[in-house]
């Protein structure tokens, strides 16, 4: 197996795709069997798809990402950009499937997965890795739909398609269609090993409360009071600007997600995270994960240094876990939380350097999806290995 990445900043999607693909094919020594595409929302989805469909890439999986893209050569977060990640593995099989999320996102996820497996020519077989991209809002249901088909042990890695301001500008694409509210799934049957790891980061504080009113992803009250007001007190004014009339708070809350205790590791509790996305005029908070009345919430806290080094640490963990030498690595796919990226945007070069160090120079491509995933579902770092 060989892996390679390429990125391009040309505003013309056709030219950007053509030139990035040429570089990719040159590095791979031939066309990829699986092509993953990330793009800033500056590129029109359908124009991008048409340019990609003209390539020799039968298994094509893509989505928009927050602000831009990141590969080993760096992060491009201003203006139009796209990145390609290609796998060339003639002994492997790869398939892509998609389905509109509709009213039953779990069923849609299952359908997309079946289509992906069938497209890979591996009907009924368990893939080594499931890679997904979905419109934000139904991550838990999507994961549940995939697990219902394959069981709990198959690695499911990916993230939500994103835009720059959680304003519905995201898209997903395959070779055949573009979507704004769908799930796209790749079933990967590589000829080599795949390992994945995940770290959510953050540490608990002593500040906590109970959810007294909530519905879906809307947290209305904590301890009987409007959630936004409580959260603002907990964070000493992190969302003060949004309290009067509401508004997006993703960037200002990235270092203070809410956590729910879900277990212990070595006697130390660990937490499932829910990042605040927006404040509603009625004082409720929209989260990037489902919440339920009665949940015990803990204010979590992170810091910039931890955010900057986290991706590199996770990449290194993947290598250690799999007992991989740097030469064994073909490449890596990395999901980096959009909220975290917005918080450390000016210092993303340090994140890239950390990844480069953690992966020993293997090709890597990163997406910056919306920050909302339940910790159970969420972004696990996939490391493809040779």
């Amino acid at each position: 197996m060989r892996a390679a990445t390429a990125q391009h900043q040309d505003p013309d999607p056709a030219r950007a795709v053509r030139e990035a693909h040429a570089a990719l094919v040159s590095e791979l020594g031939g066309p990829p069997q699986w092509l993953f595409v990330q793009s800033s929302i500056h590129h029109d989805a359908e124009a991008l798809r048409q340019a990609l469909a003209a390539l020799d890439a039968p298994a094509l999986h893509g989505s928009s990402s927050c602000l831009g893209v990141m590969t080993r050569v760096g992060a491009t977060l201003d203006g139009p950009s796209l990145a390609l990640f290609g796998l060339r593995d003639p002994q492997g099989s790869f398939g892509v499937g998609a389905a509109p999320l509709g009213d039953e996102p779990a069923a849609a996820a299952g359908l997309a997965l079946q289509r992906a497996i069938d497209a890979a020519g591996r009907q009924g077989e368990v893939p080594a890795l499931v890679w997904l991209t979905a419109a934000p809002g139904h991550e838990e249901a999507c994961i549940a739909g995939l697990e219902a088909l394959l069981g709990p042990e198959v690695p499911i890695v990916g993230g939500s398609a994103a835009d720059d301001a959680v304003a519905g500008g995201w898209y997903q694409l395959t070779r055949d269609a573009t979507f704004t509210d769908a799930i796209v799934v790749s079933a990967l049957f590589p000829s080599t090993r795949v390992v994945s790891t995940f770290q959510s980061g953050y540490t608990p504080t002593a500040t906590h409360g109970r959810v007294t009113r909530a519905s879906g992803r809307v947290l209305a009250e904590i301890d009987g009071r409007p959630a936004a007001a409580v959260y603002n007190e907990w964070t000493h004014g992190a969302i003060a600007d949004a309290l009067p009339a509401g508004g997006g708070v993703l960037g200002s809350t990235s270092l203070f997600p809410l956590g729910r205790r879900v277990g212990e590791l070595g006697g130390v509790p660990y937490y499932r995270l829910a990042h605040p996305a927006a404040v509603r005029p009625d004082g409720a908070i929209e989260l990037f994960a489902d919440i339920a009345e009665g949940d015990e919430l803990v204010l979590m806290r992170g810091d910039i240094d931890a955010l900057l080094s986290r991706a590199g640490r996770v990449a290194r963990d993947a290598c250690v876990l799999a007992d991989l030498a740097p030469d064994d690595l073909a490449g890596a796919l990395v999901i980096f939380c959009a909220g975290c990226m917005l918080t450390v945007r000016a210092r993303m070069d340090q994140v890239v350097a950390g990844l480069e160090q953690g992966l020993g120079g293997a090709p890597s491509s990163a997406a910056s999806p919306s920050a909302s995933r339940a910790a159970s579902s969420a972004a696990r770092t996939a490391t493809a290995t040779s």
Binding site: G124, L150, G151, L265
Partner: protein, 330 residues
């Protein structure tokens, strides 16, 4: 402080993960070792089939398993199974099983989705499978771990199955080689024994042939009782082979000794059948052809009846040898 706490959590998570991996790896390694021990100590290669199935069940935690072997016609036929419902199972390899038999194990989350496995899917209570190829000791086998629940097998099981095949194959090959060597040793020992027996039989046969020749000579000795007169007392029975030999010896003696009369004394001839007369006629005719005369003596009633059925013209017969000798000397 925050970074330190986060690092602590990550370190704990790594430790927990490493512990879990180690526990699982240890359990899997123990199951592998136990399985290999069971295979290696099986009484024969044929006895390893059920052992392989037990190992697979233990490793994968699956309630049912089957072993199919590829026959000359390419079909995979059941050779061993843990449950009666799997007996007689046949599968025709397509793309999936061809890949599996070439060394790529596959986990099947739903049997009904795989056309090649329709025969399995048709069996009640089976939903998912782990397919593993095992080529060793000259045969290509398919091992199936089977489960009543869908999606019971994951990439972890696939990796485990690959490891199992990796370590079991040389053990099976070694067992086959040992068994082959043992068969060869047994075959060689048997061949030596047969060779010894053959040599003994040949010796016995030679002895018998020698004795037979002696008996032949003794049963019809050619005696020169007078100048120009030979007497052949015939004792016992006369078969075609003996008559041929006697005829040859008699003619040779007549020529060498320039004898003019040969007397066949039949006093000791104890077995007379319908062809005896014909046989004697053959000798008499041969003697006449070299210009000598042939008399017979000691003819008893049963022989007389047999001789009467043949043309005995010109043949002189006497009741006793003395009468025959007297006639020859006149």
């Amino acid at each position: 402080m925050v970074a330190t706490d986060e690092a602590l959590h990550e370190a704990l998570a790594r430790l927990e993960q490493a512990l879990a991996v180690e526990r699982r790896g240890r359990a899997e390694a123990e199951a592998l070792v136990a399985g290999l021990h069971a295979i290696a100590t099986a009484p024969s290669l044929a006895a390893t089939d059920p052992v392989l199935l037990r190992c697979l069940q233990s490793l994968l935690g699956c309630p049912a398993a089957a072993l199919l072997v590829r026959d000359a016609d390419g079909l995979l036929r059941e050779r061993a199974a843990t449950e009666p419902r799997l007996t007689g199972l046949q599968l025709s390899p397509g793309p999936l099983l061809t890949r599996v038999l070439a060394g790529q194990p596959a986990a099947i989350f739903e049997l009904a989705r795989v056309p090649e496995l329709a025969a399995l899917a048709a069996l009640p209570g089976l939903r998912s499978a782990l397919c593993l190829g095992l080529s060793s000791s000259g045969r290509t086998a398919l091992l199936l771990g089977l489960h009543p629940e869908p999606a019971a097998f994951s990439p972890r099981h696939t990796a485990l199955a690959r490891n199992f095949a990796h370590v079991a194959t040389p053990v099976l090959d070694s067992l086959a080689a040992r068994e082959h060597a043992q068969h060869r040793r047994l075959a060689e020992a048997r061949a030596d024994e047969l060779e010894r027996n053959n040599a003994a039989l040949q010796t016995q046969l030679d002895t018998i042939l020698h004795q037979q020749a002696q008996i032949q000579r003794l049963s019809a000795p050619i005696l020169a009782v007078w100048r120009g007169v030979l007497v052949v007392p015939i004792v016992g029975a006369l078969d075609n082979e003996q008559i041929g030999a006697l005829s040859e010896r008699l003619l040779q003696a007549l020529c060498e000794q320039r004898a003019r009369v040969a007397i066949l004394d039949l006093t000791g001839l104890d077995a007379v059948d319908a062809s005896t007369g014909h046989r004697l006629r053959t000798i008499v005719g041969a003697v006449r052809l070299i210009g000598a005369r042939c008399h017979i003596s000691g003819v008893h009633p049963a022989l007389a009846a047999s001789l009467a059925e043949h043309d005995m013209r010109g043949l002189q017969s006497f009741a006793t040898l003395a009468d025959g000798l007297a006639a020859a000397l006149r």
